[in-house]
Each structure stands twice: as structure tokens, then as C-alpha cells.
Symmetry: D2
Subunit: 367 residues, 4 copies
């Protein structure tokens, strides 16, 4: 119950600190007989890994994931999959200065009071470095859902500080260091980030994730709605402060006659719901949007207190992303993949025998 697991049937459990010897995880519940593409899996990790551009932390990690079990002759066996990523660039000497000081905006203060001690090297367990394992686990889910159902899970940076970014072209997302699908805005982004670094400050971001091709019927009523589990998974990503599904907060000002998506035989007339009705996937695109706060590790001095109860000021040195939201794109994709995979298995457990004559509108089938 200490919260290092997610999922019920596709269950991911992780361990690892920012400056420990390694990160790792276990994926339990993967169906057997699936040929895993290890290169594609590593590629997802490369998308998240630090040190790829001047907009992210200078820490260099290869983030090579090793699969230690659950795979035999290239194929999943149905037993638990052990994942391991060794930390290679820890430099823990950087962190001794903050040993007795709570960095403002960080988890230092809350960990200290919760546990009575903390691994102060780079935030220990509270560092976003743990998300590397999420990406590895999510990549397994992603591959499976793509191969079996044609489900496509993709994300992009929708806003960075004041710069709003449209979804112009999915194929552009991996062509720039911003996961930006709006190539006309790249220069503005670059300029904004340059100034931000000069200011020694950081900024927030909005990330959108879309799952296309999800069959109708995934998700459980009442507490474990598909959207509730998506909200949980997204809010569990470091720095996320808000989650929307479909129209999100815009529904506050909508009327029912506008919001409700009508049904025609060739599909729904709109997708205000974001692909989820009553907590269950409708077959439409699942649209999720999240807000990530600016990192608190900046080179502008901040007021704080020490563990011995004195007021002080501090500057967070070290190597930090000025906008943690950027690298959140592959993480958010991974989390959505994990939730969908879990709900596919949960749906199948109970409802594998269900046959419905009524055709799913828009051509999506049940399983």
C-alpha cells in the first residue's frame, strides 16, 4: 500500500532513487506469446531520456533498459517481466549542500515529515527519474495494444508558458526537441526557452495525449471508470496539477444540448465527451489534457527553512529541466497505455463472452 504499484491486471511496480545504483520495475499480467520489439521499447526511453537537447537537464543517462525475465526466445511468457535501468551519471556530490534544507516547491519537506529522514541526493525517490521505468512498462502496453487492436497512443506539447501550440501534424512531434506538432511555433519556443534560461527560471506546460482506435466497452462503472483511472495515472506523474478528459473545464459553461454527442450510424456527431461515457470507452478518440507546474529547481534564490528550524535562503544548483512539461509527453503516453492495457484485461476477464449484434458505430468492435 506504499503506492509503488499501478494497475490491477496489468500491474506495474517500480523502485529506484535518482542517485541509487539503478531503477527497476516489474510488469505483471502481460499476456503470453507476444513478440516484443526491444528496439521500439528502447526508442521510447530515448524519447524521455535527459541530455538530448539544451532544453533539458545536462545529466547524461543512457537509460538502457534490460529485460531480466518474462521473455523467452523474444516472446512474452506470461510470467512477470523484470526491468532494470542502471544509473550511470549520478554525481551525488552535487547534493550535499541541500542535506539539511528543504527546497521550496519540492517534496523535501513532506518526505521529511512523513518518513523522518530522506535521501537528499537529487530528491531520491521523489525525483522524476523514476518515470523512466514507467516509460518502459508503458512501451510494452503500447506495442501490444497497437498490434492487437491498432490502438495508437500519441502525445504532444500543447502549451509552454504563454506559447500555445496546435495539433497541426502528428508526424512533426518527434522531429523537434519539444514534442511540438506545430512547426510554425518552433522558433517562438526556442526564443522563449532561451530567455527563460537567461532568467534562471522555469515555466509550466500543457500536454495533450490521444488514444485512437480504442474499442468500445473498456472501463468499469462507478469507481474505476476509465477516465477516473486515467486521472489517477496522469496526476501521479511528477509536477502534474490538473487533468481534463474531453472538453474538460469547458463543460462548466456548456449546455446539455451542446455537450451531448449525438449518435448516427456512421459515428458520433462530435466528441465533447473525450471518448468516455459513463466511465466506459465509446470507441471515439480518448482525449486527455494535463497541466505541469514549472520545476522549483531554479537559480533564483528562494526562502526556506532548515531541518533544525532556522529560516534561510537557497539556490537549487544541479542540472534541471527549465520546463519539465516537455519530457512529460512520452511519460503521459506511457501512463495512458498502462491504463488502457489494464482496462482491456479487466474488461476481457468479465465480458469475454459478450456478443452484441448491434454494430458499434464508426466501425469499432467490442474486443
Amino acid at each position: 500500500m506504499s503506492g509503488n504499484s499501478i494497475g490491477q491486471l496489468f500491474k506495474v511496480t517500480t523502485f529506484g532513487e535518482s542517485h541509487g545504483p539503478a531503477l527497476g520495475g516489474i510488469v505483471d499480467g502481460m499476456p503470453p506469446g507476444f513478440e516484443l520489439d526491444l528496439d521500439a521499447l528502447q526508442l521510447e526511453l530515448d524519447r524521455r531520456k535527459p541530455g538530448t537537447s539544451r532544453y533539458t537537464t545536462a545529466r547524461r543517462e543512457d537509460d538502457v533498459v534490460k529485460i531480466l525475465s518474462g521473455l523467452f526466445e523474444g516472446v512474452t511468457t506470461g510470467t512477470s517481466i523484470g526491468l532494470l535501468i542502471e544509473n550511470t551519471d549520478q554525481r551525488s556530490q552535487d547534493y550535499s549542500a541541500i542535506k539539511d534544507v528543504f527546497r521550496p516547491g519540492h517534496a523535501d519537506y513532506t518526505y521529511w515529515h512523513k518518513y523522518g529522514l530522506r535521501d537528499y541526493r537529487g530528491g531520491g525517490r521523489s525525483s522524476a527519474r523514476e518515470t523512466a521505468i514507467r516509460v518502459a512498462a508503458g512501451a510494452i502496453a503500447k506495442q501490444y495494444l497497437k498490434a492487437k487492436f491498432g490502438v495508437e497512443i500519441r502525445g504532444y506539447l500543447a502549451q509552454l508558458g504563454p506559447v500555445k501550440l496546435d495539433l497541426v501534424d502528428w508526424s512533426e512531434v518527434d522531429n523537434n526537441p519539444f514534442f511540438c506538432a506545430d512547426p510554425a511555433k518552433l522558433e517562438a519556443l526556442d526564443e522563449y526557452m532561451r530567455q527563460l534560461k537567461k532568467d534562471g527560471d522555469s515555466v509550466g506546460a500543457r500536454v495533450n495525449v490521444v488514444a485512437s482506435g480504442v474499442p468500445v466497452g473498456w472501463g468499469e462503472p462507478v469507481f474505476d471508470r476509465l477516465d477516473a483511472d486515467i486521472a489517477h495515472a496522469m496526476m501521479s506523474i511528477n509536477a502534474v496539477k490538473a487533468v481534463e478528459v474531453g472538453d474538460g473545464f469547458a463543460v462548466v459553461e456548456q449546455r446539455g444540448s451542446t455537450h451531448r454527442d449525438e449518435l448516427r450510424l456512421n459515428g458520433f456527431t462530435a466528441n465533447h465527451a473525450g471518448g468516455v461515457l459513463g466511465g466506459i470507452s465509446s470507441g471515439q478518440d480518448i482525449n486527455v489534457s494535463i497541466a505541469l507546474k514549472p520545476t522549483s529547481s531554479i537559480s533564483i534564490a528562494g526562502k526556506t527553512i532548515t531541518t533544525s528550524g532556522e529560516e534561510t535562503e537557497m539556490i537549487t544548483k544541479g542540472r534541471h529541466d527549465p520546463c519539465v512539461g516537455i519530457r512529460a509527453v512520452p511519460i503521459a503516453e506511457a501512463m495512458l497505455a498502462i491504463v488502457l492495457m489494464d482496462h482491456f484485461l479487466r474488461h476481457r476477464a468479465q465480458n469475454a463472452d459478450v456478443r452484441v449484434d448491434t454494430p458499434a458505430i464508426g466501425g469499432r468492435h467490442n474486443f
Copy 2:
């Protein structure tokens, strides 16, 4: 895994359909020796119950909750608590017309494809009627947290369609049928609702919930962060489409130097984080905001299809709230109470021995 439970250590499991004989639930994990105030519990249900004003459904339910176990001589015993609310005003004849038609914007279509059949009487399990049991279970948590820690969990309507409502006075919330803490706006609300009913339409809403007095240290790192579990619980409420903690989506445009809450010995200098740092409560107010979509049950005709695959139009008759967001206030409070209670127990299980010399700023203690 069919999703009718929430919580790990304070676990609430529910059953019941809109038009079945009864709703019920089981609360497992309640500490023993707590004197439950049954009147206060019933009062929470009265706040949620339908038929209290012309702004909510005309269905009349007394929503009297019976406690069938787990209580002995007025005191909790530590064993599971059985809850039962009988349905008295079902009128299931109202619903036969929609038997073979999917109401647009409802769960009819997704339930049908998931289960191959559906209880079409008032939405069956997908009806918001199930939330009555959530309120009963949440009331138990609320009472305990109040008595033991002085935690106060309160909500209010923050926006109804275009009408924005401030938190002017907590004590006004229960003096009007809108859970409105901004008495100057009551007339505007009344007028808006009158017109809405005339239009036969519905509207969305924003609800804010605040927990004050939560000790520092509740919440688990990584996946089961306090805010992640709050997001899950809130998004599991019918019609909720978005969740924010603290500044929420506003963080997208914030800089780190603004967002991070600095620490002084007499408390944090601000609360942009909304009371959660690294997924763990900081001792500050926990601020949550949610968006509820307009109900799709309106008297304006909508396009849809039948179970046999024909296009048609329909009007949703029956007795419906024009703004389901209003009655969501006590439900959201209940969900927050359940999550906090669960995390208190989870925290205590692992960390009951932790003693920290550093005083919690702002005067909040660890347990």
C-alpha cells in the same frame, strides 16, 4: 476488479441500481471505538437527496440510511459496516420508452456494448443515484477526521454555467439550495435556472472542495500520491470531466519563481500547490476544483440510434436535475473524506513510529 470498490485501507464497496429495491455498501477498515453520530450522518444524506428544491429532480427519496453491522452500543467495532438505503420512489414505468434507444450523452451505448444488455430503468447502475452510498461512507470518514484531527472538509458551488461564485462565507453554503457561498449571487443563479428550465436545457458547473487541518505526511509517493488518488476519486463522480489541485491549469503559464511556495517558520508564504507536495500533504489547505458536465437528460430532442441499428430522435423524459453539478457538492466532500481517511490509515500503517523533531510549520503535527 469490476470497480465497485474504492480505497485500500478504508475501503468502500457499493451496489445498487437506480430502480432496484435498494442501494447499499460496505465500509471496511474503520477503526474501532469511535462513537458515530447517526444524525450527523443522515444530515449529509439529506444534503444530497433529491426533491429538496425546484432546481433538482422531482424524484422523492427519503434516503434513510440503515447501519446493519459494525456498530455496537453506538460505537464502531472495527468490523465491516453494512449500509442500506431503500429505494422508495422508483416509478419504473417511466423508462420503458427508452428500452431500445441509446440516450445521447449517456452510458446506455457503452453499457450495451460492454455487457451485452442493460438495466434501462433510469440508467440502472450508471445513475448518479449510487452516490447516496458514497455520501454515507464519506460521512463516517468525515466525522472521524474531524474528531481526531480537527480536519474540516467543505465544498461549494464555484460556477454554474456563466455565473461565477466566490467563496465569500462558508456559513452560507447550507442556507441555500445551490451550496453557494456567495449570497449576493443567489438571485442571478435563480434567474439563470428559471430560464434554463424554460429552455428545457441543462448546464455544467464547477465545484470546489477544501480540506483544512490535514496533518503533514499523508499520501504515498509515485503512483498513489494523495493528489492522484483525489483525482481518481473526483473523476469517478458521475459527470465530472476535469480535476485541478491547487492552481491547476493556471500553472501552465506560471514561472517557477512564482509557483513554488516558500517556507517560513510561521508557515508557507502561499499555497499554489494546493496542499500537496510530491504527492504528500504539506499541512496546508488541500484545494480541489472539479468540472461537471451538463446532464444529457433534457427535453430538447436529440439524434440517436436504436439497439437494432436504426437512426431516430428522442426526448429524455423523466425527472432530472437541470444542473447535476449542484448536488455534487456533498458527493465531492464525501469522496475527499474517503481518500483522506484511506491515506491516514496507509500513512499510519507504515510510519506510526516516525518522530520528527523539526516542528511542522504553521503548527500542524505529523499524526
Copy 3:
């Protein structure tokens, strides 16, 4: 985590005290579209209910189970099933004498220390009366497994004190109040029980349960082996002190050349394993045997202490079974049904796509 639930995908949660107003439970995860035979379900409860013969407690309970949800037009809907049995013959005045005394051999002492208080009326939650709901939930699983796979789950009394009972004829089991499949021994049983009552004493028993027709492949490796979950479920029945699968303790003196069941195309050559290999069903009969202790509620005085720390003696008055093992037969069947149903769903979630060309020996198929 307070232990009132069993099962992961077919999850049963219960509540209720011996002398409270009602017992109840929730079955979550039942597949939709199954026509439940309510008479057959009630019949299982009748098999367990007290007052049916002079060999069981004189307490009279009709044990009529009401299904409050999850059923629509006679068919399961896939949503949670609410179960309720009202207590009608509580007579709580019987129990005031034992309020401050710990009955030896009972849970009084441990409940008192765990919870700091106890519902002393008939043992409260620790009474075997709660097993009525297990039988109701198990009956649902039993019906489903029978209808879908032809699985037959049957139990019988294998020993009562010194009287050993063979499995001579399954069809005799429900023809006598002992669940005895060995009609030649009925007279001996009767005589033994008569003397036991005269002595004011009680006696232990052995119960055997067999599941036939279980497909190969159910059960999960490592911790949640089918036999491990069976052991858990059986040991969770009041008064059970030991569990065997297959040859059980006899394996201690066996050699590998004897114990291992060899494989031929027409089936295994023997069933020492009891139908489980590596924690997974082999398609053979699953054979389980359990030992139930003699009830401690007897009319022979016993030494004990009071809650205020004084030594004393007491006689347990009230209405008690002289051999609780007898009525355990339908309970053990129910528990086996619940475990098998749960593992069927767990297996299907992960492995629904698996197709094996090799025929299962003895003619059993995978799903």
C-alpha cells in the same frame, strides 16, 4: 485491508454479526448475461442453515437471501450483486452473562485485545453465522461454473471424531443430516452424536471437497497458486485448522517414483497431486481435505479469566452445534467455488487468446 473480502476478479465482501439485524455481502465481477436460478441458490443456504436437525444448533433462521442488485429480468447485468439475509432469531438476552468473560477456545480474548471492545452477543462478527453469505456467493459461482464448463463441486463428511466415512455414493450426501456419503455408517454417527450430547461435549471433523471437470490452466504461478488460494479460502472458514490438497500429509513418506502422476494420452495414471501442478489446474479432480476443530461452546465448565483480570470458570450456554464440521460441508463447497470462479476470470483475462494444439489429456479443454 480489514479482511472482509475474498477474491480478486470474483470478489466477495461481507458484513454482519451473529446478533445484528442482518448479514449481507457484495459479489463484484460476475459476468453478465447469466440466468441465475434463485431456487437453487436458496437451496444451498438451506443446506447450511441451522435448526435442521437435532445435531445442529437449535437456533432457527430461515436464511432467506434477497438479491438487491446486479440482476435484471432474471439475468446478471455485470454490476455488483447485493445480498441480504435478515437475522430473525437473535435472542441476544442469552449472551449478557459472558459480557466480561473470555470464553476459552473462542475469539473473545483476541478480539478484545485487537479492538479494545467486542460485540459479545453470540460472538458478533467471529460467529460462523457470517458463512451464510459465503454460501450465497459461492452458489452463484457454482451455478456459473456448472453451466459453462460442467464443473461439479461436491463435499462430504469424511470423518467425525473417531468415525471414518468413505465416499461410497455421492447421491446419498443430501439424504441425511450429516452430509455423509457412506450410508452404512449413519447409525454409528447417530449413536456417537447421541453420546456426545449426553456428555455435553463437542467433537472435530474432516470434510472432503472435490471439484470435477475443471479445465486445465486455472491458477497463477508463484504466490497465487490455485492450491495456495484454496488453502487460504479453506483456512478462512471458522474452526478449520488444516488443509490438504491431493495426497496431503501422506506425501511426507512417499517417494518421487510413487508420487508423480505419469501422463498417458488417455489421461494421468493417478492423481496424487490432487488436480494441481505448479499451482495450476491439470484437468484432474481437485481434491481438498480439511480438519475442523470441536466447538469450544460446550456445557462442561472451563477455566478462564475476566476482562478485569480475575480467574473464573464458565459454562457456555446458548444453542450450539456439537460438531461444527458437519455444517461446514456446504461452506467448503462454496469457498472452493469462489476460488475457482476467481481463477477462471484471472486466467481468462491474461490468456483468452491462447490456443494449444496439443489436446488436453482426459478430454478437458483449456477454457
Copy 4:
């Protein structure tokens, strides 16, 4: 739900195949601030490891466990603990012969039908090699329970084939390769094993485990009784076919007047119950006994079938223990430690505030 986890609050999740690169696991829920004795932890692994005598498999594994997280400056941090043991002596060439044949008495046949494929190298995930991680996780629990409560968890070989072994002297257990507490029988054991090897056969065993010093009050009523969870944990060990708590199967012939343990102020008068009453620890010794079947890997030819459906005969070559029961002693201790640790945390979560004036008899306190 694929069963690679055990425990609710002290949760152990494992991975790894007999012939994969490594075994590993994650311990989630460990209280923070505990100074782990890594040498003592390694010692437990050494007790289990193969190759220590001529009575166990000739496979040589150092079984050096690495702790990859959750430990900072020698002290637990409260975050998840990553464990890793590299396989060094795999020799997978030994196993190619059995690729298409189901070894009788093994999990080959059931894995094949469950998953549609299997890692045939040494049994893959079904190999008892995975228990190394259980021992590592159990050692953490053992150390904590010893340090905090003085709980002592010890096991011994109670019978090997026909040779019965008494508990004569705990201190002898680690002085011989049999975990035998009855030194007078060592010669007989040696002789029996010598003959067994000559015969190319294997034999079953009985192992007893005792936990002393467990406080009163651990365990949950109804399904998750302490003894039910012990039964689950024990039966999850490879080759275990039966579990007893306290008098076990002997209760079948006992009378209530004999079985019930009476209470005196200086303790219970006996311990027929084995330290558990109503599923909750009573403060007495917890006595558990298990039966382990003889390994099916013997050099006597056995009848079987192939994956393509032909009858054949085979001899299981490779390096195998003639009595797997021997090395089960440290594994059973580890499982008991894991269950107790889990129930301590579960008890504390709900009942940390309970104060009972009545002194626990025999001097054991509540927490």
C-alpha cells in the same frame, strides 16, 4: 493479478526464471528508519542456497543479493526496496532434451496449456529457484520483527520420508545440512539419503515453523485470518501439499473439552490452537507444519507424452535435490515472517489507538 505479489501492506513482488539472467523482487511498505543488517540478510540466503551439501542440487549459485533502492546510509527510507540476485550457473544446455516433453509431476503440462508456450530451461518460472527472493524479502521482515517485538521465527525438519525428527535443540538446526534439531537422528538421515541417491529416487518431508513472541491482536477476522494467510503463504511454496496450524488434523478426533485452551492469568493452559484464535494471534507460539512432496525430477524413467501428442518415457537429468523439503526450512521461515509483518502493519493501520487495560496473559503486549 498474475500472482507474483504477496502481502497487502508489506508487499513482495518477484520476477525471474531458473535460467534467466537474474532473479529480483520489490519489497513495498517497509517502515522507514530501520537499520538493516545486510550480513544477516545474506546469511539467510546462504542457508537456502544450493550446492552446500551432497544432499542438495549440485548447481552452484552464490546467491548474492544486491539492494538497489530503499536504503540510504544503511537505513530503510520507507520507499520500495529493489532486490537483485544474478544467476551465475545456468547451464541451459542441460535442458534442450525436455523441450517437447512434459516431465511427469512437474508444471510443464499445466504451463503449456495455460500460456501456450513455456520456458523449458529448468522449469523457468516454475522452478523453486524463485524462492531465493522470498528468503531475501522474508529476512527483512524477520529482522524488523525481532528488533521491534523480539519475535523469533524458526523452523526445522520434522520428518524426512520415514525418519521422524523431534525438536530437541533449536541451536542444532544450523549445525547440520538437514536443518535437523534432533542430532541423534543425523546418522539415520545420512544413511537414508545415501540409499535414496543410490536408488535415484526422491522423498517427501515435513517442516515445522514456529513464531514466538508475536503480540496478541494480529490477523483480520473473516477471510484474511492470520492462519488463512499463513496457509496461503505456505501452500505457495513449491511442492507443499498440506498445512496445519496448531494441532492440525489431530483436531478431527479431539473433543472440545480437550481442544480448547483454557485461560489463566499466567497464560493459556495449553496451545492446541497454535497461537491463533478466530484468525487473530493470541500471544502464544504460532505453530505451523507443512508437507512437501518428493521432487519429480528423478533418474528413474517415467511415462509421459510430448507436446505433439505422442506417448514416451523420460528420465529427468540435471542437478536436483533428492529431498526438496530440506531447503524449504528457510523458505517457510521467510514466508511466515512476511505474513506476520504484513499483519502487524494491517493491525497497526486500523488499531494503533486501541488501549486495553486488561493485561495480556503470559506477558505479551498489544503492539
